[in-house]
């Protein structure tokens, strides 16, 4: 209940105050409808997709320290996008709006699937949660470095095309983008309700899940696909957004002391949206004209939480 109020308050503040101009509903309608509304909707979508993707990853890896950003999945997606943009621009693939966007989304999703599968493969070789986290961080560093190298070698004119990929940004989506982003996000988040049972069973580990009549590998495949699509589209539209995916499921488990994943599914979507909405508001509160990158704020929220949990060393 409190969450829903927070969510609505977040929407309200983000719509009315998160910008350099004071926009009123009756005032400058372009600023309201074409800038604030897409930004607010993007914050909601990005928050919920990343949080839900994080929830799924944490369950699949049975590791509370998993998340799309810390495991390098976002970076993988963004690396592949950079590659596509770089090679695509030269042959003029991005002149068509729809084709361009589809290609970016597709490469972003493929990038996240590839990294997820790599992590899955590596996770079988290591037993410790923390080591997996370290491997993920290394992977994200590798992807970041490769992306840096791409920028370094690229034509300076193409360079600006993916400078924004380095940092997450909520303000680069237009209403036209939302027409693609919104249905994909809703359909894929919605499809998880068909996986509530497998998710609950996965909590008991592979063998018990199998014994409870869950086809482990098939369900795991679909869940990885869903979480990759969720991470992929968000990265395609916002770039890699830090720490939301790992922190929100952890918060959700603190707030709702239950193992029922359908509750966490909803609360993750809500908490994730709230966090990004308020991050967006915070970005604009320090100064009217200067905005902070949204990743800075989410990192400030997410990273201390992870450190706190590492210190507490409690099995969530």
């Amino acid at each position: 209940m409190l969450l829903i109020i927070l969510f609505l308050a977040g929407c309200f503040f983000s719509l009315l105050f998160a910008g350099s101009q004071t926009a009123e509903l009756s005032g400058n309608s372009f600023i309201f409808w074409e800038i604030r509304v897409p930004k607010t909707v993007t914050a909601i979508l990005a928050g919920s997709t990343l949080s839900v993707a994080g929830l799924i990853l944490q369950i699949i890896f049975r590791n509370p320290l998993a998340g799309p950003y810390v495991l390098g999945i976002s970076s993988g997606a963004s690396l592949l996008v950079a590659l596509t943009v770089l090679s695509g621009t030269t042959i003029g693939l991005f002149n068509n709006y729809f084709l361009g966007k589809s290609l970016i989304i597709l490469s972003s999703v493929i990038g996240s699937i590839l990294v997820t599968l790599l992590i899955l493969f590596l996770s079988k070789k290591v037993t410790s949660n923390v080591i997996l986290l370290l491997i993920g961080l290394m992977l994200s560093q590798i992807c970041g470095a490769l992306e840096g190298a791409l920028e370094y070698f690229a034509n300076p004119n193409d360079l600006k095309n993916f400078v924004m990929w380095g940092m997450g940004s909520l303000s680069n989506t237009t209403n036209a983008d939302l027409l693609i982003y919104l249905p994909i996000a809703i359909v894929f988040i919605g499809s998880i309700i068909f996986f509530i049972k497998p998710l609950n069973a996965f909590l008991l580990g592979q063998n018990y899940a199998l014994n409870l009549g869950i086809n482990y590998s098939k369900n795991r495949f679909y869940l990885i696909l869903i979480s990759s699509v969720l991470t992929g589209i968000t990265t395609a539209f916002c770039g890699p957004v830090a720490f939301v995916g790992i922190a929100v499921p952890l918060l959700s488990r603190i707030i709702f002391n239950t193992s029922q994943q359908k509750i966490h599914l909803f609360s993750c979507a809500l908490i994730g949206s709230c966090i990004l909405l308020f991050s967006d508001v915070i970005c604009h509160t320090f100064s009217r004209s200067a905005t902070l990158p949204v990743n800075m704020v989410t990192t400030f929220i997410g990273a201390p939480l992870v450190i706190y949990l590492l210190f507490k060393n409690k099995q969530w």
């Binding site: 994909i184 894929f188 068909f194």
Partner: protein, 396 residues
């Protein structure tokens, strides 16, 4: 099974969207397209554009036209700007074609280069917004800003353009630096708000005169072609004369530029704008054999091995003294140019933030830069150059 049906649903959703996109407001766009085609069928290209390759101007009885070639997204795009003489014509802007009924009265200029061109064209009173006052030495601009900060908005206090401020300002025209992709980020939103934005690509030109010629392009938005021609003609004449003076020099001193940032020393390529200046000033640019029009990313070692015996070292970031240079990196002292005190920087006149007037007017007046360079490289020719140095100054 359930999942498969969802994937199918998703495909249906996407194909529905696809069909929406492939026909955007087609009817209006088509009639406007036809009208524009008819309007532009008999335009005559302005033959006076001699150097610049990235824009052209044309005219007929009904309108003037400016074409801009290439942007960061696609080098083959042509963006057309039509200025109607006959304002009764009912033609709307469509994608990549902007139609203007009257000359622009409210300008947002997002680079000091364009701002100074606008001032030179006498459009100062129409400038409503600039990028960031920190970059300016222009007294008129600074005074306007000081007297009334609202009269001259700053739109790029952040690294990124403030979209909301720009849109609520609602300028007639935005002159923006052509590095950004028009289909992404702030630029996309501004174009979406139906605010005409020009992504100027003068940086893609390879010679100083070609870049200076862009004043004619900017003038087209205000019908000030003759003023621009007059200004450019003087620049061209001076530049050519200076080039001839430089040829009389007996020596050909060697020169290199820039300092390193972090580990990387960005030096202008052999076919770049800066390299052309050195060639025209009859100096020997260390990387003249290189084929790049942009910049080279080198390490200290690579620069040192080629430039240690060079006679001159120019364009040292925002530095003012030799001490500052030494403090940054002790190994800089190993260069011959450092020991012989042949260090010149382009910040003779700079504001308190260290930004030099060179960056504002240098593009527009390459003759001034060339005269400075000749004075630096060939002091024996100083009798033929009437003036002092404009931009350059020896490091203290």
């Amino acid at each position: 099974m359930k999942v498969k049906s969802f994937i199918i649903l998703q495909v249906i959703c996407l194909s529905f969207l696809w069909s929406c996109y492939s026909t955007p407001n087609s009817e209006f766009a088509v009639t406007d397209k036809l009208k524009i085609k008819a309007l532009l069928s008999d335009v005559k290209t302005d033959p006076s554009i001699k150097y610049a390759k990235r824009f052209s101007l044309a005219e007929n009885e009904k309108c003037r036209v400016a074409y801009l070639f290439g942007n960061a997204n696609n080098m083959d795009t042509t963006v057309t700007f039509i200025f109607l003489k006959d304002t009764s014509l009912k033609i709307n802007s469509i994608q990549n074609i902007f139609v203007f009924r009257s000359s622009c009265k409210k300008i947002a200029s997002l680079s000091s280069v364009y701002t100074s061109m606008l001032c030179e064209l006498g459009e100062l009173s129409h400038i409503a917004a600039i990028d960031n006052i920190d970059y300016y030495n222009n007294v008129a601009i600074i005074n306007t800003h000081k007297n009334d900060t609202l009269a001259l908005a700053e739109l790029s206090k952040n690294p990124e353009l403030d979209v909301e401020k720009t849109i609520s300002l609602n300028p007639d025209i935005v002159f923006n630096f052509g590095m950004g992709n028009p289909g992404k980020g702030p630029n996309e939103k501004i174009l979406l708000a139906k605010i005409p934005m020009v992504l100027i690509v003068d940086h893609l030109e390879e010679t100083p005169l070609a870049r200076a010629e862009w004043i004619k392009f900017i003038a087209a938005f205000f019908g000030k072609g003759s003023t621009a021609n007059f200004i450019f003609k003087a620049v061209e004449k001076n530049y050519t004369e200076l080039k001839n003076i430089a040829l009389q020099a007996k020596t050909k001193p060697s020169v290199f530029t820039e300092i390193k940032y972090g580990d990387i020393w960005y030096v202008p390529g052999g076919k770049s704008f800066m390299a052309t200046f050195f060639k025209d000033a009859n100096a020997d640019y260390i990387w003249k054999e290189d084929a790049n029009t942009g910049s080279l990313h080198l390490g200290f070692e690579q620069v040192y091995s080629k430039a240690k015996n060079a006679d001159f070292w120019l364009n040292l970031s925002l530095l003012k003294t030799k001490k500052e240079l030494y403090a940054m990196e002790k190994r800089y002292a190993e260069f011959k140019a450092y020991r012989s005190e042949s260090l010149y920087n382009n910040n003779k006149i700079a504001n308190e933030k260290g930004y030099s007037i060179y960056w504002e007017t240098g593009i527009m007046f390459p003759d001034k830069i060339l005269s400075d360079l000749i004075l630096i490289f060939h002091p024996e020719l100083s009798s033929q150059i009437k003036n002092d140095m404009y931009y350059y100054k020896k490091l203290d």
